[in-house]
C-alpha cells in the first residue's frame, strides 16, 4: 500500500528541468509560460483540423483523378469562386490566430510595479547576479558569480551541465524585474519553466518581468551562441517564500 504511494510520487512532482527524450514543455511556473503553452495548444488544435482537411483533399484528388479512373484529363484551368475561397479562408485563419498571439506577446513585457530588481550579467562563460535594492552605497551591493558545477564535482541527484554553485534566489509570488545585460559578447538568459528568454547585450539593459507562482528550482541555459563554453553556463533560479528570501538577503548582506 505504502509502496504504491511512492510509485505515484513522480506523477505529482513538477518538471522544472529538461528530461531525456522530452517532447513537450516543462511545467509552467509563471502566468507567461502558462499563456505560451495555452496558445501553443490552441494553435495546434486548429493546425490538426487543417492538416486533416488538406490530407483528405489530397487523398480524394489522387483517388478520383487516377489515370485509370479518369483517362481524359480535366480542361478546367480556373474557377473564380474557389480561388477566392482558398485565398480568403487561410488569411482569416491567420488573423484569428494573430489575435490571441498579439495579446500574449504584449502581455510578455508588461512590467507591473516590481518589488525586487535583479541584474543578470552574462560573461564568457558564467552568469553573475547583482542585488542592489538594499545597498546604502555604490560598492555595497550583493554580487556573486554563478558557475556550472563540473561533472566530477556533481553530487548524487544533481543535474549534469545544469547545476551551478550559486543560484539566483528570488521570492515566489512577488513581482520581479530582471535586468539582463552582458559584459563581453551576446548571451541570452533563458529559463523554460518561467517562459523567460531575453538576450543579454553589452551596453543595453533588457528588462523582463517575472512573477513565479510557486516555490521551486528552475533550470535554464544560455541561449545565444557566445563562444567555446556556451553550453556550460547554465542558469538556476531558486524561488523561495518572501520570508526565506529576506533572510537569505540578510545573510548575504552580512557577508559583504
Amino acid at each position: 500500500m505504502i509502496f504504491s504511494f511512492f510509485f505515484l510520487l513522480p506523477v505529482f512532482s513538477l518538471a522544472d528541468a529538461p528530461e531525456a527524450w522530452q517532447l513537450g514543455f516543462q511545467d509552467p511556473a509563471t502566468p507567461i509560460m502558462q499563456g505560451i503553452i495555452d496558445l501553443h495548444h490552441d494553435i495546434v488544435f486548429f493546425m490538426i483540423l487543417i492538416i486533416v482537411f488538406v490530407l483528405w483533399m489530397i487523398t480524394r484528388t489522387l483517388y478520383h483523378f487516377h489515370y485509370k479512373k479518369n483517362p481524359v484529363p480535366e480542361k478546367i484551368i480556373h474557377g473564380t469562386t474557389i480561388e477566392i475561397a482558398w485565398t480568403i479562408m487561410p488569411s482569416l485563419i491567420l488573423v484569428l490566430i494573430a489575435v490571441p498571439s498579439f495579446a500574449l506577446l504584449y502581455s510578455l513585457d508588461e512590467v507591473v510595479d516590481p518589488a525586487v530588481t535583479i541584474k543578470a550579467i552574462g560573461h564568457q562563460w558564467y552568469w553573475s547576479y547583482e542585488y542592489s535594492d538594499y545597498s546604502q552605497s555604490d560598492d555595497q551591493s550583493i554580487a556573486f558569480d554563478s558557475y556550472m558545477i563540473p561533472d566530477d564535482d556533481l553530487e548524487l541527484g544533481q543535474l549534469r551541465l545544469l547545476e551551478v554553485d550559486n543560484r539566483m534566489v528570488v521570492p515566489a509570488n512577488t513581482h520581479l524585474r530582471l535586468i539582463i545585460t552582458a559584459a563581453d559578447v551576446l548571451h541570452s538568459w533563458a529559463v523554460p519553466s518561467l517562459g523567460a528568454k531575453c538576450d543579454a547585450v553589452p551596453g543595453r539593459l533588457n528588462q523582463i518581468p517575472l512573477f513565479i507562482k510557486r516555490e521551486g528550482v528552475f533550470y535554464g541555459q544560455c541561449s545565444e551562441l557566445c563562444g567555446a563554453n556556451h553550453a556550460f553556463m547554465p542558469i538556476v533560479v531558486e524561488a523561495v517564500s518572501l520570508e526565506d528570501y529576506v533572510s537569505w538577503i540578510s545573510n548575504k548582506l552580512e557577508e559583504i
Binding site: D133, I208, L242
Partner: protein
Amino acid sequence: MGNTIAMAEQVLEQQETVQDTSEEVQENVTETEEASTEEEEEKPKITVEDVKTAPMDYRFPTTNQAKHCYTRYNEFHKCASEKGDDARECKKYAKYYRSLCPGDWVDKWNEERENGTFPGRY
C-alpha cells in the same frame, strides 16, 4: 497625444509624492528602530517591508532600460548638486540608480566623474 503625456506625468508625480510620504514615514520608523537597536548590532536587518525597488517609470516603457538607469544616475547628481550631497530627498534617486544600473557601469561613471570626463551636466 500631448494629453496622454500630461496625464502620465501627473500620475508619475502623484506616485512620487505618495512614495515620498511613505518613504519618509518608513525612514522615521527605521530611524527609531535603529536608535533602539544601534547598540546591539551595527547593520540594520532587512525586513519584508524593505523589499522594494525602483518603480516602473512612464518615461521608460521600453524593454531597454539603459536610459532609465542613466537618467536616474544623473537625477541623483543633479539633486545632490542642488541640495547638498547628503540631502534626504536625493537618497531615493541613489536607491533607484543602484537598483537599475550594473555595478560596473556605476563604477565607470564614478571614475569618469572623478577625472572630470563624465559627459553628463552634473
